[in-house]
């Protein structure tokens, strides 16, 4: 018997979805083996994670709340990846967006009419993050790889946020607690039900807008062509430099909006935990979603469920919540590896026929 890989001549439409699903199941099996190696019972672990994240209404709400920043940052990096512009800086752009929104809520809200506070916070967050993201975009036009510059800006932005809430923006009445003062009521995002704030609606609108612009406009077409083949794009007369600037404004702006929904929807102040690795997880989600904005929303919910389930695990099973990150990484690695099956098929020959 001989097993070989043969290139597929035709790819049925269902194949990609099938391979992804099988890979995901494979990932949970590999995850189970890893859990066993790490000394945890995979069945009780998965059960606790599932119940903790999707088992009842409260936990579903928790999962959706967690999914909101993941959705927005995923849409952010997805837009950039579509052009093969490697914006790894969503984490820092989210932080700068949080700074912009908090700045408005803390220092400007008193002099603004109440209904304007939230819109101004959104604009401030998007603008601050977009300007922050412009730096690596301009450097890219100057020939410097965005991969490392966007990454370095994460570390700088996170230190900046920490500096603000432990230093100049620290709540003087906070008993030494590292965090800014609490925002006034009009700066809180309204709730849909329970803890679920309307940030999730922003994410769905953003997904629709991104899908629409990428699929039906000349700009979306240009972005796709640049992403698929920069040479073709250049011959076709597409202005690559201008598109780098635009895509980064969009991308960083969306990540900044995620920073706004985090501070205005959950913490209601600038404090530790505003950057919780969403910007990095977004990279994995965008890839798993095959850069499709709608799929990105679903994968965000799945990843959020893993995170919430991981937190529950800590409470119910005493296992570290980082199990969630291990599973997320395993899922992506398995799906990436599984993709070969969409291009090739495994053929098993009996020796006699070879």
């Amino acid at each position: 018997m001989l097993i070989t890989l043969e290139k597929r001549l035709e790819r049925p439409g269902y194949l990609s979805a099938l391979v992804t699903t099988v890979s995901m199941i494979g990932a949970f099996l590999i995850g189970a083996i890893l859990l066993l190696l790490l000394g945890a019972n995979p069945i009780t672990t998965y059960h606790a994670m599932f119940v903790g994240s999707l088992g009842n209404k409260g936990s579903v709400i928790d999962t959706l709340v967690k999914a909101t920043p993941l959705m927005l940052t995923t849409l952010a990096v997805l837009a950039a990846f579509k052009m093969r512009f490697w914006n790894i800086g969503a984490e820092g752009q989210l932080a700068v967006g949080a700074i912009g929104a908090s700045g408005v809520a803390l220092f400007w809200a008193q002099s603004l009419p109440d209904p304007l506070i939230i819109p101004v916070m959104m604009v401030a967050a998007i603008a601050a993050a977009a300007i922050w993201g412009l730096v690596p975009a301009l450097l890219k036009i100057w020939g410097i790889s965005e991969l490392l510059t966007t990454l370095m800006t994460n570390y700088i932005a996170i230190l900046w946020v920490e500096h603000l809430y432990t230093g100049p923006w620290k709540d003087p009445k906070g008993f030494g607690f590292p965090g800014s003062a609490q925002f006034s009521d009009p700066a809180w995002l309204p709730y849909i039900t329970g803890r679920l704030h309307i940030g999730v609606v922003f994410a769905v609108i953003a997904a629709f807008a991104l899908w629409f612009f990428l699929s039906f406009t000349k700009w979306g077409y240009e972005v796709t062509v640049i992403g698929e083949n920069p040479k073709t794009a250049r011959y076709a007369g597409i202005n690559i430099h201008r598109n780098i600037l635009i895509i980064m404004l969009v991308s960083a702006g969306l990540a900044g909006l995620a920073g706004m929904t985090e501070v205005a929807g959950i913490a209601h102040r600038l404090q530790k935990g505003v950057t919780a690795g969403y910007g990095y997880q977004a990279i994995m989600i965008a890839w798993l979603a095959k850069l499709n904005p709608w799929a990105a929303l679903f994968v965000s919910v799945l990843f959020a469920a893993l995170l919430v389930g991981g937190d529950q695990l800590q409470i119910t099973a005493g296992l570290p919540s980082s199990v969630a990150l291990i599973l997320q990484g395993t899922i992506l690695l398995t799906v990436l590896g599984g993709e070969i099956l969409t291009d090739y098929k495994v053929v098993i020959h009996r020796r006699a026929t070879v």
Binding site: K7, M152, I156, E162, Y280, P320, I326, Q328, G329, T330
Partner: protein
Amino acid sequence: MNLLLLAIIAAAIPAGTSLLLAALGEILTERSGVLNLGIEGIMLTSAVCSFAVAYHSDNLLLGVLTGALVGSVLSFVHAFLTVSLHTDQIVTGLAITIFGTGLSAFLGQRLGPEGGSLVGLTGPSFEKISWPGLTANPDIAAILQQDIMTYTTLLLVPVISIFLTRIQEGLNLRAVGENPRAADALGVNVTKLRYRYTIIGGSLAGLAGAHLSLAYTPGWTEGLTGGRGWIAIALVVFATWNPSRALVGAILFGSINALQFRLQAMGTTISPAFLGMLPYASTIFVLIIITRWESARKRSSAPAALGVPYSRE
């Protein structure tokens, strides 16, 4: 001022060791045409495993070997996915870093005594070797007296330089990174070399993690590396894929690190957050300088096939 400079260099060398180790490894990997962005995750996982093994066995050598082993296992995964399954090297590397970040956090909370946390424990660590009678000047002595891992790392610089320029395997490796098709036609096994040097590169990154948790900042805290894996990748670009320039870069970045602590110790009024930004801001700055310098000379030092999968079809 001279004394301050000497003191900074003395502190820069151990601070730069992990950067140099990881950068040397990444130079080997990238010279074969494979970009491994998993370094940060590999360093984290190796750091925690090395510390755990050294802590429980009270054996430093065992800890160091664990670091190298963990590095080679994780980079084997990268090699398997990118070389054999042709996955995107950037995304795969990022996935390994995220996986490693989670795994290291998990292990850090489980590998301590009785399945508990490792954070805050003190284990064995490499001491600086003192050479009695070496020099009367204590400042120079502070530069020359380093731990054994640092000496070994410094020794690796000429070894890898010679390997890449004088040894047949090293020349084959470069050929694979520049033009795999031609190398293949000449009978060089592209797949084998890419696997081999991704794994060796990863094990050096693993040693870099071990140096952090066993020598430079003995012990384990979550996120111990603080982006050093990424700075090491930037160092490779800065060094134009050249081991001796990586040494210069590592000392430069080590100095920035040392300067940061020195200023803090001297009671400067600059906020620690801004001092903390120095290494990352300098990385961006250095990337700008080197990219502009290269483009002014109309050349690129990057291996031509870097990031491109190879198949015979």
